[in-house]
């Protein structure tokens, strides 16, 4: 009995022990779960918090054009100003009343500028009127009729530098977003947004019921916060555990951040479309993508469309499915009305409006100018790491002039077509590249790397290195003229056959283009008429090292072979390299690096770096005056004289043709007082063409120069240079010429025709009257 009791007691005690240990185990489990959950929540919380307060996105850098400066006297037609405004997304209205609007009358354009933070100062938003007289701005006034000396429009976005995952977005602050957009989003995506704590049980119930009724998923119960969590922190997988995590994170997010902060992030995060391989994220970028306008300027019907796209940017793509998109937009407007956000009248008015999206091609300004963008990217890489360019959201302002680029591309396409048909060249074989820069500042304003406008591929302007032919000759004449005691423009040189032994034992025998020798000729004629034999002789007399030095000082930076053929341009350069050399000539001997970029700002619009003007005197200005004279001879009477058939006589221009062996390359490099333009033409397979520098590239150069607002080149006589009448040949003074000489190298009396020619009218008398 006792034993039995003892057994029972033991048994009871065993049970009790077991219960206790089970309880303890349960407690341990509970504690473990609690601790684990706490740890998990803390980890999740830290993750949620850190990512939200840190750098939220990898932002691509965006590249902008030059701002269009407007002032009295500017050569700009009313149509071109209108074009610029439209490209900037300004809307044409009857009367401009808000930023981003303009109106046009016969003689004027009234526009309300948007204002912009430039490097030097802020240009405030204001209403202005530009009055035109012909193709010039004859007056610029503000809304009070006060004269404005100068103003500028904001730059145009022309492209971007994207990370490998091509998410494109521009950040916008919530206070810059139209209230109707935020209201539309809340109305259509999450009506309880301002009431729930991240998860809306009402929304889930509503969605559950709707889905049960329909028998399929027709409605999501996710709040805006949950959507943000899904897009921002998680992946696209739709599992129960992921939904649970999403809910937890949404709650945590709501604990730490305000509704405004969450909504602002959502507005910048959400996916709203696709442009090629570029994903459009956020409403600012979407607004530019669909309307070419900042989101701030959108009207109700536009914000409703964008809000509608959140549900499915591809499904409601307004270009591919306009009817679907219109229905969705109108549904958003109806919901907004039902939610009491807008009146019935407003909804009805907005519903009556068309989608108002831009054409898909015109909206892709980031794809329009790839040639120039390549140059920008290369110059940026000298300063910035590729990863920073792709993720730091830099704002890069350039010297790019879209108006000039457009004209250049148009002219290239037409001229190439014309040459192919005119010379019987196989269609599609002829290629071209060109670079246009501002003289003096060295700012590159346009680059074309292919015959096709907007071609995004091999960029011949930067990468096609071809023999430059006679365009190298100014370097030879510079090397000679830098020794005024030995050479003047009137120094005579034999243009007769010449043989030069090269270092490897070959004999180099250059010939003139027309296979004709011209005997003893003055230097300016050798340059102006591009005589090969005379130039080769001059170069050999001066010495290859001096010519090489001259080429380098002009701005060419690659190693140069010491070959005599260098004197006639056997050296290979890209158009931009040749442009760099010619810019030094055009800038009166001052080397300034050709610049595509003007300044860089951070994503927060803080000025980061300015690419300022640089200059370094590489040649004496007296020598440059002589070379400039020689290059004017090219265009007035030499190989480039056809230029003045289409350009005004009074415009001072200088330049040089270039043709390589078998006419494989046709070059022209020339400049006015304010623009330098270098043009190359040839075939990618290096095949022969029927074109010389004069019949090919020069024609395109003229086409381009006719379109630009050119000013005469600055050709003032510098101190230490004097002009004299001299005989151009050995036949006395019956064909005298007025030539510049560096002091100390003046012609002697036998050479000079001064007594009969240097006094204008009196000279005429002295020649014609027998006193």
């Amino acid at each position: 009995m006792v034993q039995g009791i003892a057994k029972k007691g033991r048994s009871k005690s065993n049970i009790s022990n077991k219960d206790n240990s089970r309880l303890a185990w349960i407690w341990r489990m509970i504690i473990f779960i609690l601790v684990a959950t706490t740890i998990f929540l803390v980890i999740v919380d830290v993750f949620v918090y850190k990512k939200f307060v840190g750098k939220k996105w990898s932002l691509p850098s965006h590249v902008y054009s030059r701002p269009l400066e407007l002032y009295q006297g500017l050569s700009l037609s009313r149509q071109l100003l209108e074009w610029e405004l439209k490209e900037l997304g300004y809307k044409k209205v009857d009367a401009a009343k808000a930023p981003g609007q303009f109106s046009v009358s016969e003689q004027s354009v009234e526009f309300f500028s948007r204002g912009f933070e430039f490097w030097d100062e802020r240009e405030p938003s204001k209403l202005m009127i530009a009055i035109f007289s012909g193709d010039k701005i004859s007056g610029l006034k503000d809304s009070h009729g006060r004269v404005i000396a100068i103003t500028r429009l904001e730059p145009m976005m022309i492209g971007g530098i994207y990370p490998s995952r091509k998410e494109d977005r521009q950040l916008v602050k919530l206070d810059k977003v139209p209230p109707t957009l935020a209201a539309a989003l809340v109305a259509i995506e999450d009506q309880d947004f301002y009431r729930h704590q991240g998860v809306s049980f009402r929304g889930i119930t509503r969605a559950f019921l709707a889905n049960m009724t329909e028998g399929k998923i027709v409605q999501g119960g996710s709040t805006i916060t949950q959507q943000l969590v899904k897009n921002f922190y998680l992946n696209e997988r739709r599992t129960l555990s992921r939904k649970a995590l999403e809910a937890i994170m949404a709650v945590l997010l709501e604990i730490h951040f305000t509704k405004q902060e969450i909504l602002e992030t959502y507005i910048n995060e959400v996916y709203l479309g696709q442009s090629g391989d570029r994903a459009i994220h956020g409403f600012e970028m979407a607004s530019n993508h669909y309307f070419n306008q900042p989101v701030q300027e959108l009207q109700l019907h536009q914000t409703a469309l964008l809000a509608g796209l959140v549900k499915g940017a591809s499904f409601y793509n307004p270009w591919r499915h306009p009817k679907r998109a219109l229905n969705r937009r109108n549904l958003v407007l109806d919901v907004m009305n039902l939610a009491g956000v807008i009146s019935r009248v407003d909804a009805t008015t907005a519903k009556a409006k068309p989608l108002a999206i831009i054409s898909p091609i015109s909206g892709r300004s980031h794809l329009k100018y790839p040639s120039y963008l390549t140059l920008v990217k290369r110059q940026l890489r000298q300063t910035y790491k590729q990863s920073d360019l792709q993720t730091a959201g830099l704002r890069i302002f350039t010297n790019f002039d879209p108006q000039i680029q457009r004209k250049v591309e148009d002219k290239i396409a037409k001229r190439i077509e014309n040459l192919e048909s005119g010379y019987g060249i196989e269609i599609g074989k002829l290629q071209s590249a060109s670079v246009i820069a501002r003289v003096g500042s060295g700012e590159v304003v346009a680059v074309s790397g292919d015959r096709k406008p907007g071609f995004d591929g091999f960029n011949r302007a930067l990468d096609a290195r071809r023999p430059v032919g006679s365009t190298i000759k100014p370097a030879v004449y510079l090397a000679a003229l830098e020794n005024p005691e030995s050479y003047t423009l009137n120094s005579k040189i034999e243009d007769t056959s010449i043989s030069v032994s090269t270092e490897n034992g070959d004999i180099w025998q250059p010939r003139n283009f027309g296979r004709k020798s011209h005997g003893l000729i003055p230097l300016y004629e050798g340059l102006g008429y591009s005589y090969n034999q005379a130039t080769a002789r001059l170069g050999m007399n001066v010495g290859l090292p001096a010519v090489i030095d001259s080429i380098k000082r002009l701005g060419y930076s690659r190693p140069l072979p010491r070959l005599p053929s260098l004197l006639l341009g056997s050296i290979e350069m890209s158009p931009i390299e040749l442009a760099q050399m010619y810019h030094t000539i055009a800038a009166n001997g001052f080397y300034s690096p050709l610049r595509a970029i003007s300044s860089v700002f951070t994503a927060e619009n803080i000025p980061l770096k300015r690419y300022h003007f640089e200059a370094e005197q590489r040649f004496d200005n007296r020598v440059m005056h002589l070379i400039s004279y020689g290059l004017q001879v090219v265009l007035r009477e030499g190989t480039g004289k056809s230029a003045y058939q289409r350009l005004p006589e009074e415009l001072l221009l200088a330049g040089k043709t270039g043709t390589t062996n078998d006419q494989r390359d046709s070059w022209f490099a020339g400049f006015s007082g304010n623009y330098l333009s270098v043009v190359w033409m040839g075939r990618d397979d290096n095949g022969k063409t029927p074109l010389t520098g004069g019949s090919g590239a020069l024609r395109l150069w003229i086409d381009i120069m006719v379109e630009l607002e050119n000013r005469s080149l600055v050709f003032q006589k510098p101190d230490g240079v004097n002009y004299y009448w001299v005989s151009s040949n050995q036949n006395g003074c019956h064909k005298p010429r007025y030539l510049p000489f560096i002091a100390g190298s003046e012609p002697d009396k036998r050479e000079s025709c001064a007594s009969k020619n240097d006094t204008g009218v009196l000279g005429w008398f002295s020649r014609n009257l027998d006193w």
Binding site: D120, E121, I150, H612, E637, R711, Q716, K735, G760, N768
Partner: protein, 141 residues
């Protein structure tokens, strides 16, 4: 043998004939009849977009005085885009580079401006004086 009257008639007719046949140079002067149209141009006095350039130069000098030299240069470069042959642009830029301690660049910029100042005596004098100052500073350095 010509009489004095005949000489006078020939002289007058010839004068007008010669004047009419003489090609006009870009600067408005006239070349002797046998010359090519390549002669040095007159000192720059053109007024293309003068108001805009004047306004920008005023702003550039103001920023210069306020010691905002980079900003001043940015404005001067705007003026350069409109008319790069305006010598005063180089004076203000050189002054900025000088203040920023970039003496070599200041010297180069003055040298670039000098040939453009032949039609503007005060600016030419200022550039010349500045050049002396800059060179002295470079030697000191």
């Amino acid at each position: 043998m010509k009489t004095g009257l005949q000489y006078a008639v020939i002289f007058t007719l010839s004068f007008f004939l010669a004047a009419a046949c003489t090609p006009v140079t870009p600067s408005g002067g006239r070349l002797p009849s046998s010359g090519q149209a390549i002669t040095p141009s007159s000192p720059i006095t053109d007024s293309v977009s003068k108001d805009a350039v004047i306004k920008l130069l005023e702003d550039a000098w103001r920023y210069n005085r306020e010691r905002q030299h980079d900003r001043s240069n940015a404005v001067a470069e705007r003026a350069m885009r409109i008319n790069h042959s305006e010598a005063e642009i180089y004076l203000v830029m050189a002054s900025n580079y000088f203040s920023l301690g970039q003496f070599s660049l200041a010297e180069q910029v003055v040298s670039k401006g000098l040939p453009l100042a032949s039609g503007n005596k005060p600016i030419k004098e200022s550039l010349n004086q500045f050049l002396i100052l800059v060179r002295a500073k470079i030697i000191q350095e």
